[in-house]
Structure formats: C-alpha cells, structure tokens
C-alpha cells in the first residue's frame, strides 16, 4: 500500500517534467522571446535594440537549452529552460511582466478562490448526489422521467447564461445580493457565485450520478439485498450508495486540490480577486510568465489529486485496503 503510494508520487516527476517541456516548447520555441517582446512593445516598427533591452529586462536573453558562453555547469544551468521552467519545481515562479512577484500574488489570491470554490464543490456534490438518489428512488415513474428531461435541458444551456441570468435577477432586479465584488469575510458576496456555480452543473452532474447508481442497482448483490427483505431505502443508501462511492470518489477527489485555482468564469464575472480572475487577466494581457506558472501549479495540484484519489480508495474499497 505504502509502496504503491510512493510509486504514484514518484510517477509525478516525469509528468511534471513533461508538462514543463510542453509549455516550454509552446512559449519559448514556437513563440520566441523576440515575438513576445514585439507584442509587448506594441509598435509596428520596433528596433532590434528595443527588443534586446526588453528581453534582458525580463530575463529572456539566454539560450534555450545550452549556453555556449557559460563555463562548466553553467553551460546547462544558465539557460532559459533552467531559469524559466525547471525553477518552477522549487515553486519559484519569478515575476510577472508588470514586475510583481507571482508566488506572492498566488498566495494572496488563493483565499478568495477557495472561499467560492470550496462551498460550490461541497454544496454541489451534496445536492447532485441527493437529487440523483431521489430520481433513482422514483425510477420508472414520471418524476424520474421529468427529472431526466430537466437535466438534459439544464445541461443544454450555456454556462454564461446562468451567470448573466443570476446577476440580472438576483442582483439587478431583486437586489438580493451585490452584483459583483468581494470582501474577506463578507458572505453576501459569496452567495450568488456559489449558487450560480452549483446550478450551472446540475444537469451534467445529476445525470452522471444517476447513471452510476443505475449501474450499481442492476448488480447481483442488490438483488441479494432485496431478497433479504431490506427496505428500498436501505438498499439504496447502504448498498447502492456504498458501492457507488468508489466511482464517485474517482471523479471527485481528483478535483479537490484544483479548487485552489478557482473558477475562471465565475471569478471574472463576479469580480472575485482569486486565481481564476488572475489567470484570465494574464491571458488577456498575454502575460506568459503567469500563464506558465498557473499551468505548472494546475498540473501539480492535479497530480496531488491523483494521489489523494488512491488514498481515498483505500478508505472506500476493502479490496484495495487489504490487498
């Protein structure tokens, strides 16, 4: 078991290296630092010296992989790849184009992101699973059929609609909550983004959980449980839900670490100063240093999610725990 986990953690290294190489290739080889400088300097006719000045100011004036001018270890170490890419492994994200320290920025923006993402995740999960169980309990009836139609309709609506409709109705028309903004500790600002986030995934998620439950309900041990004379509710909660926990965990645990990154759309629409809006601003400003850092951080958190998933299996599935 422990061995298994250690192996999974070790497996993370080549994956992160792969992510690094990929982003490095995208940002430094396809797109040379010269291109970058030209975009940031803006003007049509930039001089070569202006480009060189911008590059050296932002630390882009080194060779990609091998520095012929440097001596000894410096040949490999004093390069863009080490400087911009490998340093990420030490969580050294460097500075954004506006000169601000990215790591510090990330640290201060995690809080607001989590304040939205965590309740959205928890409330959503609880709601979707309960709703799906309700539909399964009433399977074969009009309630279930209507629920499924509702889910398909809800998942056919653009996510942007939920945001815009929510802001318009709850904010502008009914004045329930502020339309956007954020203050630490002020719950009024959180309700609407959370609500919109939860409602936005009702269709997809409920359908998914419902089909998981249906898969379990067709299994032989459920028939055995019924043959024992257990009530339908007990069959559903103890047997169906108990076994469906395993696939549910696969889908759910892996995203938990990613909650730190927040949601791009929600944060940007509701003006939450979290990592999601940070990323979106970086994309729109074409600040590649930030984008690269977020890609690395995202991968890191994803892999943490994978390891957590393995751990959670050992809790939910005795076959894994005891083997």
């Amino acid at each position: 078991m422990l061995n298994y986990l250690i192996r999974r953690v070790l497996y993370a290294v080549p994956i992160l290296l792969g992510v690094n190489l990929l982003t490095f290739a995208l940002f430094f080889m396809v797109n040379t630092p010269d291109d970058m400088a030209r975009i940031h300097l803006g003007a049509k006719h930039v001089t070569a010296t202006a480009i060189a000045r911008w590059k050296s100011a932002h630390g882009y004036d080194k060779p990609l992989f091998i520095n012929e001018q440097a001596a000894g270890m410096g040949k490999a170490a004093d390069t863009l790849f080490v400087d911009k890419s490998l340093r990420l492994f030490a969580l050294d994200f460097g500075a954004a184009d506006d000169g601000r320290d990215i790591a510090r920025e990330i640290g201060s923006r995690m809080g607001p992101s989590l304040a939205i993402a965590l309740p959205t995740f928890a409330v959503g999960l609880l709601f979707y699973v309960s709703f799906a169980l309700l539909l399964v309990f009433f399977r074969g009836t009009n309630l279930d059929a209507g629920g499924v139609v509702l889910c398909v309709a809800l998942m056919s609506i653009s996510g942007l609609f939920y945001v815009i409709a929510g802001q318009y109705l709850m904010g502008k028309l009914w004045h329930w909550f502020p339309i956007s903004g954020y203050q630490p500790g002020a719950w009024q600002f959180l309700v609407m983004p959370v609500l919109v986030g939860v409602v936005g995934s009702i269709g997809d998620s409920t359908r998914f959980y419902r089909s998981l439950f249906f898969e379990e309900i067709a299994r032989d041990y459920v028939r055995t449980a019924r043959a024992k004379g257990l009530s339908e509710l007990r069959v559903l909660f103890r047997h169906v839900l108990g076994n469906a926990m395993i696939p549910i965990l696969t889908g759910v645990v892996v995203v938990i670490p990613r909650l730190f990154l927040g949601s791009l759309i929600i944060e940007s629409f509701f003006g939450i100063p979290g990592l999601g809006s940070y990323t979106i601003d970086a994309i729109q400003a074409q600040d590649f240093a930030i984008v690269r850092s977020m890609v690395f951080l995202g991968s890191l958190l994803y892999i943490a999610g994978l390891v957590l998933t393995d751990l959670s299996y050992t809790l939910a599935d005795p076959r894994v725990r005891l083997e």
Binding site: N3, Y221, R223, A227, K228, G229, S231, R238, N243, P318
Partner: protein
C-alpha cells in the same frame, strides 16, 4: 387456458392432493398456481412463463428442471416478487404457509417481511451476489435486524451460529467477500438467507458456477439444512444429475410451462413426456461410448409465439396431427404423475420414443490401433510461469506456476481429455501449446516439428496444423463480421487459395458442420449458441488442421445442444483423422468421447491413462475425489469422502 385445475379447494389440488412429501404429511409450504409472466417489448408481449403451477411442501426438495430460457429462473424471481424491471406478473397466485397467505396481493412493506424471512432465495453467482464493500458479519446482521430485530451482541452470537451451521467459522465474520473462495461465498449467502428462518428456500442454480468438488459440498449442505430445519427447498437447475441427487419431486419445464411433474423416482424411471425422455437420451455417458447420441432437433419456440397445439410438437418424434391442433392438458397420467402430453397416459408413447440406443449408428471404424499412428502432439515439461511483482519497484519476487512441467502426447485420430477444475491451468496450457502465450519452459512439437524455434512466416505456416475451439459461443465470433468472412479469415491468412475457391470451401465447411449455405452472408447474432459453436468448429477446420484443441466447447451449451456438438465432433474426427485435445471439467463427456484422460491440478498432471481405467479404477486421490463429487451418484453415498 390449458391448465386443468381441480376445484380450488386445497385437498383436491391436482399437484398437492396425491404427491405428498416424503413423510406423507400435508403441510403448508409454497403453492404456485397458474403463474403467468409478461414482458411487453416494443408492441409485442413476451410470455416467458405461462400457466405454471406446482407446490413445495415444507420438509421436501422440489427441483424445477429445464434448459436455458425455459422460464425457470423467471418463475423463481416472480415468487420473491423480484422480477427484473419490465417483466410483470400477469396472472396467478402464490400462497405460503398455513394458513395460506397470498403473496402476490401483499403490500410491498409486508412482502419485505416475507422476503428473506419466511421465503428466502440464493443465487447462481457467488462472485457477484455479495456486496463487495461489506463484511460477512455486516451482511448477515442486516438480515437479522430486518427479520428478528436482533442487534449488537445478540446479532453477533446469532451470526456466528448461522456461520457454523453452513460450515464457516467465527473467523469469517470480519471477512470481505473477496477474501472468500466461491464455495465459502455461497455458504455465506446461505447463512444470510437462513437468518430469517425461512419456511421455503429457493436456490437458483446454486452450484452452476462452482467446481464439481465444491458443488458436491454445497448441495450436501443444502440438503442437510433442508432436512434438519424441516424447510422446503425449491432447487432451480438445468442438471439432471443434480436434480436426481437432491429432489423428492421434480417439475420439468419447457418453453414457459411445466410439462411433467412427479416424484423423482417416477420421472427418472418412467418419464412420460417426450421432452423429458429426450433429455435423458442426449446425456453422454461412458456406457454410450461409440454410439451416436440421440439429438433433439430444432429450437425452443421464442417467448412471443402463439401456440395452437403442444409447444413441443415441432421437435417431437412422436407428434401426430392432434398435437398440432389441440393444446394438451396437464393431466394425471399415472397416480401422482402429471404430464402435458396427449400420449402420456396411453401406452403409445413408449413405442414412439427412440428408447433403445442400439438403433443408433455406432462409430466403430476407428482405423488402425492408435500406437501405430503418427504422433501429432508431443508436449515435454511445458511450463508457464507468471512473475509475481511486489515492492516499490515491482521486482519479481517469485512466480505463479500456472503450468508447471506438463508432458502429453497425442496421436492422429485420438482424443485425449484434459480434466481439471477452474484455475488448474488447463486453458493456459492450451494457449501455451498454440503459442498464444509464450511458454517459459519445456517444448511443444506438432507433427514432429518443434514450435519453440519457429518465428515469423514459419510459425504462421505451422498454425494451419493446430487450431482451437473456445468455450463461449458468444465471445468466440466477432459480432461485426459475417459468417462467411469469419470462415475465410484463417484461409486468407494461411492457405494459398484464391477468392473463388475460398468461397467454395466456405460452402463446403458450412455443409460439413450442418449449417445452411445462406449462413455465409449473415451475422453471428442471428444464430443460436449451438449454431455459433458449429461456426467456430468450421472456422478451425477451414485451414485443415491436424490437431484441434477443444477448450470446454460444450460447457456453455444446453445438454440437448451439447449432444449435437459431440456427435458432430465425433463425425469430423472419423472423417478427417483429427487429433483432439479435449479440455473439460465434465466427466460424463470425457467418458463418452475420449480414449485417454489426463487429470490436471495446480499446473501439473496428477494422473493419466486410458479412459476406462481412470473413470472406473482411479489411482490418484484427486481423481477419486473428482469422480465421487460428480453428481448423479446420490448424496449420502459419498457423504464421508466429501466433507
């Protein structure tokens, strides 16, 4: 309706009035009357069960016997009111206990009390019938809480008592199902179902998925519990031998109806329905060696057929005009012996039955003595070891010896049966011989040429000499290919034939295995299991092999279809001088078909010899255990040896 009931008063019930339990007492038990199940599908109505009536008294075992699709499992599920979604009980009544309580009209909550309480059921698949994430104790405790209201220490004590009653121990309480063997799981399931102290226990093919030695133990346990607790046991089975070992009374089902119903002795000595007679006639046995097995032509009518006469008439050798025009009544042909056949009571049925196998052609032309013929397969010390990897870096710390030094030889025209239980390595051996798995040691020579050194083109050419037929008729044909393309695949790969002669050969092959010529342009799903197995045999024959490995080719088939396939195999062997390596767990089939037998256990051959010697005077202890465990010999006879 064709069911001829007496007046509804219980004493005069045709099923209960005369056929009494062993002790003669007429007790409550389970009375099923006129059960009809319907499945509406896209405008049509399937009727898998139509007018079924029988009774199971407490303190007796009733076997509901029938081939796949006859409706026996549907019937069992209907009694529990656990029919799969889509199927519904259209008509009928089920009464349980004294005073009789009608189950079909009970509200669901009250039915929950009956289910697993007074009426319990165990299922076929021990692998999947237990909840994988709950301990045995947890799953028993649920039943105890539901029916006896027991909790905590009292439940614990009762659970231990139940486990001990089914031959498990206190130590199994904390076990999860994956930590138990198949037999232990089935025992745990039985313990769960005994928790409510049922009056009647339904066992739906409880041992079909188990090895023969485990089957014997479970059957014995069930019979013992039934006697000891004085409960009724309704055993659903397809196996005539199992029914004969277990049942006091037998109901034979065909196409959704019970066609014969009598005491076990009556059924097994004087079967009165032609279908039952045929079932006995198709059984392979040692004493039928060299004889052609009787066959049952045609197929079971589909469950949406409309019947104007007897359901069995189209396949019945004794059928006459009345059989096609008038639905036969289910009547008492002899005291306590009911049958659904116009001829059941009259002596005419005996004349019509092809009772004497002497009339059947016998395969005697086996040619020159075996020793004089060419050796087709020579296996020496063959080994297949799989590494067991452990630890941080998945280093091989040992190996699992699936096949561990097996030697065999096989002559042209000879059949060698390889007998063993699941996991003994027999299928791995087959794949290793064909080099579908690379052996880790030893040598295989086919027709005098060693396979080990061959590779590429040479190995490919060699493959034409050795072919294989698999167990599962559904998985062995690609559902997206036409039969013709399936048969041509091997020829295209291995024979130097142009397209036109290939197609001609497809026709010849279809003819040889008894399939219609238009089969070539059809897809596998249009064929029955037996027909698919014929296709699989034709596919293997297409490249003109010398050696045919038959990996349980009939174990997924009904006995009547099995007989057809065995006949076909015998014919083909004579016609082509094929050498068969016949892998099976079924000893009667071995006795019928093979000249020599090798018994395999844990990767090794423990005994090998001529079939008569192995089946009648085995030397190895394990062979004796296998023989003793085979059903059909009666339970008590081998009581001591099995436990």
């Amino acid at each position: 309706m064709s069911v001829s009931h007496g007046r509804p008063k219980e004493r005069e019930h045709p099923l209960g009035g005369t056929a009494r339990s062993a002790k003669g007492a007429l007790m409550g038990g389970l009375v099923v009357e006129n059960l009809r199940i319907e499945i509406p599908v896209a405008g049509r109505t399937l009727v898998p069960v139509d007018g079924v009536s029988f009774r199971v008294e407490t303190n007796e075992c009733v076997a509901l016997l029938g081939e796949s699709g006859c409706g026996k499992s549907m019937t069992a599920l209907a009694l529990m009111r656990l029919l799969p979604e889509g199927a519904r009980i259209a008509k009928g009544s089920v009464k349980l206990g004294t005073p009789a309580e009608e189950l079909f009209t009970l509200p669901e909550a009250a039915m929950g009390k009956v289910r697993g309480g007074r009426l319990a059921m165990i299922f076929q698949e021990p692998q999947t019938s237990l909840n994988p994430v709950m301990t045995v104790a947890g799953q028993i405790a649920e039943a105890l809480a539901a029916h006896l209201g027991l909790r905590g220490a009292a439940a614990q004590a009762e659970a231990v008592r139940l486990l001990e009653a089914v031959g498990l121990t206190r130590g199994h309480l904390t076990a999860y199902p994956f930590q138990l063997s198949g037999g232990q799981r089935q025992r745990a399931l039985i313990a769960m179902m005994l928790a409510g102290e049922p009056e009647v226990l339904i066992a739906d093919e409880p041992t079909t998925a188990l090895d023969v030695t485990v089957q014997a133990q479970i059957l014995e346990l069930l019979r013992g519990l039934q006697r000891q607790r004085g409960m009724g046991l309704l055993l659903i089975t397809h196996d005539l031998d199992v029914a004969s070992d277990m049942a006091d009374r037998v109901a034979v089902m065909y196409a959704g109806q019970i066609v014969e119903w009598a005491s076990r002795d009556q059924i097994y000595t004087t079967p009165r329905h032609p279908y039952t007679q045929r079932l006995f006639a198709v059984l392979p046995r040692l004493e039928r060696r060299g004889q052609r097995l009787d066959s049952l032509p045609g197929r079971v009518p589909p469950p949406d057929s409309v019947f104007t006469g007897c359901r069995f008439a189209p396949r019945c050798a004794a059928a006459f005009s009345r059989c096609h025009e008038e639905i036969p009544a289910f009547h008492e042909a002899a005291p306590g012996h009911f049958a659904r056949c116009h001829l059941a009571a009259s002596p005419a049925w005996q004349a019509a039955s092809p009772d004497s196998q002497v009339a059947n052609p016998i395969f005697t032309s086996r040619g020159s003595p075996l020793a004089a013929r060419a050796t087709i397969l020579e296996v020496r010390n063959l080994a297949v070891h799989f590494p067991i990897r452990r630890g941080l870096f998945r280093r091989a710390v040992g190996s699992f010896k699936a096949v561990d030094g097996v030697s065999l030889s096989l002559h042209a025209g000879e059949t060698l049966a390889l007998v063993g239980e699941s996991g003994c390595g027999k299928s791995t051996l087959a794949r290793a011989i064909l080099r579908l798995i690379e052996p880790t040691g030893g040598s295989v020579a086919v027709a005098g040429e060693a396979l080990a050194g061959l590779s590429g083109e040479a190995l490919r050419r060699k493959r034409a000499e050795m072919q294989i037929v698999f167990q599962d008729p559904y998985a062995s044909l690609n559902p997206r290919m036409r039969i013709g393309d399936i048969l041509e695949e091997g020829m295209a790969a291995l024979l130097p034939l142009a397209a036109a002669p290939r197609r001609a050969r497809v026709k010849a092959l279809l003819d040889q295995v008894g399939l219609p010529l238009d089969a070539a342009s059809r897809y596998p799903h249009e064929f029955s299991g037996g027909q698919r197995q014929r296709v699989a045999i034709a596919r293997a024959l297409a490249v003109r092999p010398k050696l045919l490995i038959l990996d349980e080719p009939t174990s997924a088939l009904d006995v009547s279809v099995q007989a057809q396939i065995l006949d076909l195999l015998a014919e083909l062997q004579v016609a082509h001088g094929l050498a068969y390596l016949f892998i099976t767990h079924n000893l009667p089939v071995v006795g019928y078909l093979a000249q020599r037998v090798a018994v395999m256990r844990a990767g090794r051959i423990v005994e090998e010899g001529p079939v008569e010697q192995i089946l009648t005077a085995p030397r190895h202890e394990y062979t004796r255990l296998l023989l003793d465990s085979a059903p059909g010999g009666g339970i008590t006879a081998r009581h001591k040896r099995c436990m």
